[in-house]
Structure formats: C-alpha cells, structure tokens
C-alpha cells in the first residue's frame, strides 16, 4: 500500500486540515495584522500603526476594570463550580433511591440553550421577579439584583455555575469511582473518620482531576459571552464587562477593528497559556479518558 496509502491519508484529513487553516489559523494571522493597524471603518482605509493599539491598551482607562471583572468572574466561577461540583459528586457517588434522578436534575441545565437559560434567570432576577417574590414571602427584602455592580456580578457568576457544574460533577464522579475501595477500608481500620478520609484519602487521589477541571472551567468562563450579553450587557456601568464582552463591544459596537483584534489576541494568550498547561497535565495524569 505504502505511497498510495499515504496519499489516501492526506485525502482523508484534507477537509479537516483545510477547514482549520481557513477558519482558524488564517483568521488568527489576520487578527495579528489588524492589531498592527488603525482601521477607519467608514472609508475602509487601513493605516499601519505598529504597536499603537498595544500602547492604547496600556493607556485604556477602562481596561483595568475589565480585567478586574474578568478575574472576579472567572475566579468566582471556578471556585464555586469546583466546590459545588465536588460536593454533588460526593453526595451522589453512592447509589441510593433517587440518586440517578438527582444526577439527571443537576446535569439538565447543561443541555439547555445558554440564551434561554440566561433569559429565564434574567426574568427571575427582576426587582419584582420570582426570586424577590420568594424572598418577600419569608420576610426578606431582596435587592434589585441586576441594577447594582456587586449583585449583578453575583448573578452572572451564579447562573454560569448552575448551568455548567453538571459537567464537572460527572468528571468528579468518574474520578471518585477510580479511588480503590481498599484504601477506604484501610483508612477506616486505622480509625479515620469520614472527614479525615475525605481530606486525606479522597481529595489527594482525585487532585489531578481537580486541577484539570479547574483549568477547563476557567477557560470556559473566559469565553462566557452569551451569559453576559443577555443578562447584564456588561453593566451596570462596567461592573460585569469581562474581556470577551469588551472585545465584542470594541470590534462590533464601536467598529474599532484594530483595537478589538488587539484585545482578542490578549484573550487568546490567556486561553492558550491555560490550555497548554492543561494538555501538559493531561499527558501526566490521564484518568477519566477512555
């Protein structure tokens, strides 16, 4: 077969390879080129400005706030998501009456369209909406969630976590299944309580999964566009304007292609660093892949 077989190989991968080159690699190259230019959208003229857009990023008075919001949002999402995901996995790891039903319930938002999910939360979080109505029923005067910075940030973080934690729960369940039962028995014979067992046996053994899911979750949070766009449009003020939303605003609302591309490359850098770390770790600890 030899050479003919190799030709077949190239033929088989051609659509995928060309697709990636045309729709991913070439656009990234273009983005780099755009970032070196000032683009007048009305006349269609491009002027080479070198590092001008990068200089502008350093001097952009809004960027620190945007990066701050990005850090708070991604950090909040990853911490809540891991704690909740792990708690759910531990509670549902054993089979009991209803455990499968609960797994299904906690996973179900994953298959719900992000926009629909976020719209419904936006509805529940209105000042006179369902959440405050429920709070009023128990005598609590709820805030107008989406109209002040801190509560809006809590709202976008919480809705993102509830929508996506099901995936992490499943990954943690798989990791928990991989912990040898003998270890638990041995620990118990040594007189360890369930809390000690969790922190001294379970947690160290599933820490690779914990680390991988942490990175996956941050990368996901960095790309949460729809949630922000639908729930808060980055507001009030800049309070929930995360980097991915800021890129969209600069490039498509303000038509600043050059600066938008510069910010997009910044986002790419964050995601790339995290993903490369993830791939390196995955090579070392392949646990739940089949």
């Amino acid at each position: 077969m030899g050479r003919a077989d190799a030709a077949t190989g190239y033929l088989f991968i051609a659509p995928q390879l060309l697709g990636v080159l045309v729709f991913v690699v070439f656009p990234v190259g273009l983005a780099v080129w755009y970032s070196l230019n000032e683009w007048n959208i009305f006349t269609g003229d491009m002027a080479f400005v070198g590092a001008g857009n990068y200089q502008a990023a350093l001097e952009d008075p809004q960027l620190p706030s945007v990066l701050g919001a990005t850090a708070v949002f991604s950090g909040g999402v990853v911490v809540l998501n891991l704690v909740l995901g792990l708690a759910l996995a531990v509670m549902l790891n054993r089979r009991f009456r209803g455990s499968v039903l609960f797994r299904t319930l906690f996973f179900s938002p994953v298959v719900v369209s992000v926009v629909a999910w976020t719209l419904v939360w936006g509805f529940l979080l209105q000042d006179n909406g369902g959440l405050n109505g429920a709070l009023a029923a128990v005598g609590v005067d709820g805030p107008n969630w989406l109209q002040s910075g801190p509560t809006a940030m809590i709202a976008v973080t919480f809705t993102q976590v509830v929508r996506s934690v099901g995936i992490n729960m499943v990954l943690f369940l798989a990791a928990l299944q991989g912990v040898p039962g003998e270890l638990y028995e041995a620990a118990r014979l040594d007189g360890a309580g369930s809390r000690t067992i969790f922190f001294r046996v379970t947690l160290p053994l599933i820490s690779p999964t914990l680390l991988l899911t942490a990175i996956i979750t941050i990368v996901g949070a960095l790309q949460s566009f729809a949630q922000i766009a639908v729930l808060t449009e980055g507001g009030p003020g800049l309070s929930t304007t995360v980097l991915v939303y800021y890129v969209f605003q600069q490039a498509f609302s303000f038509n600043d292609i050059g600066y938008g591309s510069t910010l997009a490359l910044m986002l790419l850098t964050f995601v790339m660093v995290l993903t490369v770390i993830q791939w390196q770790l995955r090579r070392k600890w392949v646990f739940y892949e089949d």
Binding site: F12, G19, L84, G129, V170, Y184, R188, I216, F252, Y288
Partner: protein, 288 residues
C-alpha cells in the same frame, strides 16, 4: 466497575443522616430545576400575572396567547426551521469530516502525521470569540454576511469539528486492527475499510459527536448576532432576545413561550438518551 465496598459501614446508617442528605440535595436542586419549571408555567400566564405578588407557579387563567404571539411578532416558525436545518447540516458535515480525519490520524501512516494533527488541534485551542473579528471581515469580502454560510462553515470545520476529530481518533486508536487486516486481505481498499468496517463499529463515538455538534450549533449565539441582521434569517437563541416591545421593554411571557419551545424538545431527548448525552458532553470538558 469496582464493587462499592466504600459504602458498607454507612449503608444502614442512622435515618437522620439519610434525611439530611435528601434535604441538602433537594435544597441544592432548586436553582437547577425551578428556572426551567418556572419558564414553562409562566409561559402560560397572561402578562398581567407574570410579576404577580406573591409569585405563584400556576396561572389562574392559563392561556396560549404568548405562544401565538411568539409566531406573529417574529417569523418564529421560520427561525425555528433555520436552527433545525443549520444544526442538521453542520452535524452531518462534521460526522463525515471528523470520521475521515479521525480514522486517518489513527490508522494511516503518512509523513507529517503528528505535526498535522497538532495543527488541527490548534482549532480547539483558539476560542471562536477571538477569530470572529477577522472572520467577519473575510465573510464580508466573500459577500456572505447576513447569510447562513458563516454559521454552517465555521461550526462544521472549526472548534466543534476538531473536538469531533479528536474523539473519532481516540475511538479508532482503540479499535482492534485485526478486523481491518482481514478486510484488506479480502481486497477492500482504505475507503472501503473506513466505510464498511470502521464506520459501522464507530456508532458510539459517532453518536457522541452528533450530540455535541448538534448542541453547539443549536446554542450558537455570538455568531448569529454578528453575522445576521434580517429577522427571517435569525436562529433561535438570537430570536429569543428580540421579543421586546416598541419601547424596548421585554415581552416576558412571549419570550418565555419561545424559550420553552426552544428548550423542551432538547430536554425531552436528553431525558430519553441521558447516558449518551452525559458521556458525549463530558468530552466537551476537553475543550472547556
């Protein structure tokens, strides 16, 4: 699967413990379940009851008005059809492209195979939010803005498809090679082996790919928002955000009716084919 000896000491533990577990789970489940239920029940409420205080799950005067309004306020039937056909086309292309590429990367030896695989994986690494700015300019040049082409082409060949190729490659690597050797002795070529031997065996991987791809096309929001301006071309997620009255106020019950129609069919399929959904979506952890 390991035997669950872990649980033994606690299995017949005190009832109080069990009650506490159920209580915690029910409390935690509320934010996962109530929004979807609330969406469905509120879509049958007249607008006057939408923000009733105290809130009640069920309407006193249930009505289908919001449903009919969803179809008259926007070309919602058309938008629904757009989402369905785009997702189906994207899924079909992706299954073909990824099973060919995944097979070749797993089975066929050719110079540069590993390097080219890394190049393809770049498609997973770069978020679509980064490439959208230059892609928009490219599609503008090609006269494809305000058409469905960008939604089909980019989704069918970039990130979701690369993830699919990765899944297919993993699957074919694990497939015993003896089956193919027997077929080869019978005179079957590469294409025949792929088509007749490997694809039929790859059903589990293909169904994972189909679920993942369909959902990522179905849920796409940024791309339609950027590329499409005519309401009759909109896809569902984008259409959902456009139920606003002349003053920019949200038409909540109409929006919720449209959202219900978007979400419930997918949820029903999920409930039927849970295992496949969970397994294939766990793969999306690879991408994040």
């Amino acid at each position: 699967m390991r035997t669950e000896t872990v649980a033994a000491p606690n299995r017949f533990g005190p009832i109080a413990r069990r009650v506490a577990l159920y209580a915690a789970l029910i409390l935690l489940a509320a934010p996962f379940v109530i929004p979807t239920l609330w969406m469905i029940t509120s879509s049958f409420k007249p607008l006057s009851e939408i923000f009733a205080s105290p809130p009640s799950f069920f309407s006193e005067n249930p009505t289908l008005a919001a449903y009919s309004e969803a179809f008259t306020f926007q070309p919602f039937a058309r938008q629904y059809l757009n989402s369905v056909y785009i997702a189906l086309v994207v899924t079909a292309i992706t299954m073909l492209v990824s099973s060919l590429a995944g097979y070749a990367f797993a089975r066929i030896r050719f110079p540069g195979r590993n390097l080219l695989f890394v190049v393809v994986l770049v498609g997973l690494l770069v978020p679509s939010e980064v490439t959208i700015v230059p892609l928009f300019q490219m599609f503008k040049q090609a006269g494809m803005v305000n058409t469905h082409w960008p939604l089909i082409l980019v989704t069918a060949f970039a990130a979701p498809c690369v993830l699919a190729t990765f899944i297919m490659r993993q699957f074919f690597i694990a497939l015993p090679v003896e089956l193919e050797e027997a077929a080869r002795l019978d005179g079957l070529g590469r294409f025949g082996i792929w088509r007749r031997i490997c694809l039929p065996l790859a059903k589990p991987a293909l169904s994972a790919v189909a679920i993942l791809t369909f959902l990522s096309s179905w849920n796409l929001y940024l791309e339609p928002t950027v590329y499409l301006t005519s309401p009759e071309l909109f896809t569902l997620p984008q259409a959902l955000t456009r139920f606003t009255d002349a003053y920019g106020g949200e038409m909540w019950n109409t929006q919720l009716a449209a959202a219900t129609m978007t979400v419930v069919p997918v949820l029903v399929v999920f409930l039927i084919a849970q295992r496949q959904f969970v397994e294939s979506l766990a793969h999306s952890g690879l991408k994040g």
